[in-house]
């Protein structure tokens, strides 16, 4: 296996400032993307030439969606969820973004010596409840313990598989000019809920995580039409990362109306206070759908009939202008470029 060519990378400005991993490499933004593009893919190979939340495999004639995700969230418990249900929902959602019906999950724990058994118990109970509610069983697992100080309490990895129905082909490159951009609900709740708990910030009302399994919502959308073009769950990097990646992958432009974004008042207030941007904050139970215009109304109606899509709203469209670039129309009628966040969002000073 060839060594990665650190000098000859294709990006003109690859990773050059950092000789070590920094937190931003896990932030789901440009730094993460550079790791994948310049280190992981060249060495580990590029399965289907397309980055998505899950891989598509063909097994004995059945098309399968396969994905994995690791969870290192702090604190372990936050308003509206915990690392346990997050680990279940996150992988279910990754699988579902291929249009698949999730079949089974694996769970791997990395536990820190000294972790209270009661804490682990609460996490596993939350996992069990989430898996039961979603109807997706955990069928295999693994446990490792590391010395005290080597993990922050516990980390969880989940992986899962699902079966992709015949005729369903959902992936970023299918976004086409004219397609409609639909969000399944509010933006920013999960990230702000976790951050406010972590930083001990209080905003008068409690902002709860939106963590939820989305495979049921996806199935309801597919019942309208199998011709959904793209689905993404808007986790790290939020909506702006999801749309930026779709635009870059499909070489199309995407435009959205800021005034139509469903940002709850308390999230907007927290963002204003902290100097953050709600469109770049992680969600754990929200997807963005890119849908052919002829099906948009029916898909939107089906989403609104589902418990995890009640707040669904059309926010924009795909265009053949400015390929690869996402543009926001401001409430005043101006426009601005929305970029893939660099790494983690940094609160502004003032």
């Amino acid at each position: 296996m060839a060594d990665p060519d650190f000098d000859g990378w294709s990006c003109p400005l690859p990773l050059r400032r950092y000789e070590r991993i920094v937190m931003g490499h896990g932030g789901g933004g440009q730094l993460s993307a550079e790791l994948v593009e310049h280190l992981f893919l060249p060495i580990l190979g590029d399965h289907d030439g397309e980055m998505h939340d899950a891989a598509r495999l063909s097994l004995e004639g059945r098309d399968v969606s396969f994905s994995t995700d690791s969870y290192v969230v702090r604190p372990l418990f936050f308003p509206g969820g915990s690392i346990g249900d997050l680990a279940i929902h996150g992988t279910i959602n990754d699988i579902a973004m291929r249009g698949a019906e999730p079949v089974a999950l694996s769970v791997g724990f990395i536990l820190e010596e000294g972790l209270p058994m009661e804490t682990l118990g609460r996490v596993v109970e939350a996992m069990g409840a989430a898996a039961d509610a979603a109807g997706v069983p955990v069928v295999t697992g693994d446990t490792k313990v590391v010395d005290r100080g080597q993990a922050d309490g516990l980390y969880v990895n989940t992986a899962g598989i699902g079966v992709i129905p015949d005729g369903v082909d959902i992936r970023p490159r299918r976004a086409e000019p004219g397609d409609v951009v639909i969000l399944s609900g509010t933006l920013g709740q999960h990230g702000v809920a976790v951050m406010s708990k972590r930083e001990g910030l209080e905003f008068g009302t409690e902002i709860r995580s939106d963590s939820a399994p989305l495979h049921g919502l996806v199935a309801a959308m597919l019942a309208v039409t199998k011709d959904l073009h793209v689905l993404r769950d808007m986790t790290r990097g939020g909506m702006s990362a999801s749309l930026s990646e779709i635009a870059a992958s499909a070489k199309v432009g995407i435009e959205f109306e800021e005034a139509k974004l469903p940002i709850p008042g308390d999230v907007a207030a927290a963002c204003s206070f902290l100097g953050l941007d709600a469109i770049s904050i992680a969600n754990e139970g929200r997807l963005v759908a890119i849908v052919p215009p002829g099906h948009a109304d029916a898909v939107l109606a089906a989403m609104r009939d589902h418990e995890h899509g009640r707040g669904a709203v059309v926010v924009g469209s795909v265009t053949d202008e400015h390929p690869g670039v996402v543009v926001a129309r401001t409430p005043f009628g101006a426009s601005r470029v929305v970029d893939l966040p660099l790494g983690e969002q940094l609160p502004r000073i003032c």
Partner: protein, 370 residues
């Protein structure tokens, strides 16, 4: 939402844009001093919707941007020490020093933490009595009272493990320097509302008199900025130069007197380097001798560290409105938010960073798709 929605109303904005357009008969160059105003202008596209005659110049009012390279290097030196917990506002972590940034120090083993208030840093110090906790106190007059308070608290509690690396900058001397420059193009200044909420407006009258330039104290929400601009254009078109307060819901003439007392107790005025601009006399605050034991420069002996800036970076000209960010040859090439040469590219409030983030469609296409 209360206190946000009413200052974002598109209908009122439309009226203000129309009034401004109607009043404007000649070209005017207006500098918004504060980075928060720059952010609001660019994010909402206000500059795109103004008459072509009005040019907005993004001023030096982003504290992250004007913190000198030498100060960043001092921070990196202190933060890398094994006995130190280094605390900072979030957007300072990505500002490059001569070799790396605070994120790099953190990944190399330094204990670097983002805080939202210097009092959080004091709390960390109390929880970690065997560590030296240092707070990186940068900012304009706005953040100074809380920073001063943290030193008063530390002194009162007799804490010997809390100190501050302070690099405060002051707005009025910066306006004076820009207006005094023989190259000055600025016809009017939008003063920074939150700075004035602390310091009041009385410092600005003499600047108006001296330079015969209108100064309008302006807020940060889109309608605040538009109202500030409307009042500015009104003065310019009438040929008058006055001090006007368009942010009266927050700013009073005398300012916040208890906050000013706090500042006077802890800080003293000093000459200060501004990154990209150079030294401006009497334009900063440093920790006063009475609080010297809490001065991290003194405690860690880093006072001598200094550093030359990148010769490619023209952020000084950008900050003075002599150059648009995309007119710099390094813009979008050697210099991107990912690989900033100057701090104006680092912060989303920085003139170059804001320009890069939100205006790339208007600059050459190859720019920024690195």
């Amino acid at each position: 939402m209360k206190f946000l929605d009413e200052f974002n109303d598109p209908e009122i904005a439309k009226q203000l844009f129309a009034q401004i357009a109607e009043m404007t008969t000649r070209p005017w160059a207006i500098m918004e001093v504060c980075g928060g105003q720059t952010y609001s202008i660019i994010r909402n596209g206000i500059d795109q919707l103004l008459p072509d005659e009005i040019e907005l110049i993004h001023g030096p009012g982003c504290p992250v941007c004007v913190t000198p390279l030498g100060t960043i290097d001092k921070a990196l030196e202190i933060a890398a020490r094994p006995d130190v917990i280094f605390t900072s506002f979030g957007d300072m972590l990505r500002v490059p020093g001569s070799d790396e940034d605070l994120f790099g120090v953190k990944s190399g083993g330094g204990d670097v933490r983002i805080v939202y208030s210097p009092l959080d840093a004091v709390k960390i110090a109390e929880e970690n009595p065997d560590k030296q906790v240092v707070f990186f106190a940068i900012g304009f007059e706005t953040t100074a009272p809380a920073n001063a308070m943290s030193l008063q608290v530390a002194k009162r509690r007799g804490m010997d493990n809390y100190s501050m690396l302070a690099s405060h900058v002051l707005v009025p001397p910066a306006i004076d320097t820009i207006a005094s420059s023989p190259n000055n193009r600025v016809d009017g200044f939008l003063a920074a509302g939150h700075v004035c909420s602390v310091m009041g407006t009385w410092q600005y009258g003499p600047l108006v008199e001296k330079h015969q330039v209108p100064i309008v104290v302006t807020g940060f929400e889109p309608l605040d900025v538009l109202e500030g601009l409307r009042r500015m254009i009104s003065q310019l078109e009438r040929g008058v130069a006055e001090l006007d307060n368009a942010y009266a819901r927050v700013v009073v003439e005398e300012g916040n007197l208890p906050a000013q007392e706090l500042i006077a107790d802890v800080f003293e005025v000093c000459d200060r380097q501004w990154r990209g601009i150079g030294e401006i006399p009497q334009s900063g605050w440093r920790i006063s001798p009475a609080f010297r034991e809490f001065d991290a420069e003194y405690r860690f002996g880093v006072g001598d560290i200094d550093a030359p800036e990148s010769p490619l970076c023209r952020s000084g000209e950008v900050l003075q409105g002599l150059l648009k960010p995309n007119q710099c040859e390094a813009f979008g090439k050697e210099c991107t938010p990912r690989t900033p040469l100057g701090a104006t590219m680092v912060s989303s409030e920085g003139a170059c960073g804001a320009y890069y983030q939100y205006r790339r469609l208007e600059v050459p296409v190859e720019v920024g798709r690195g």
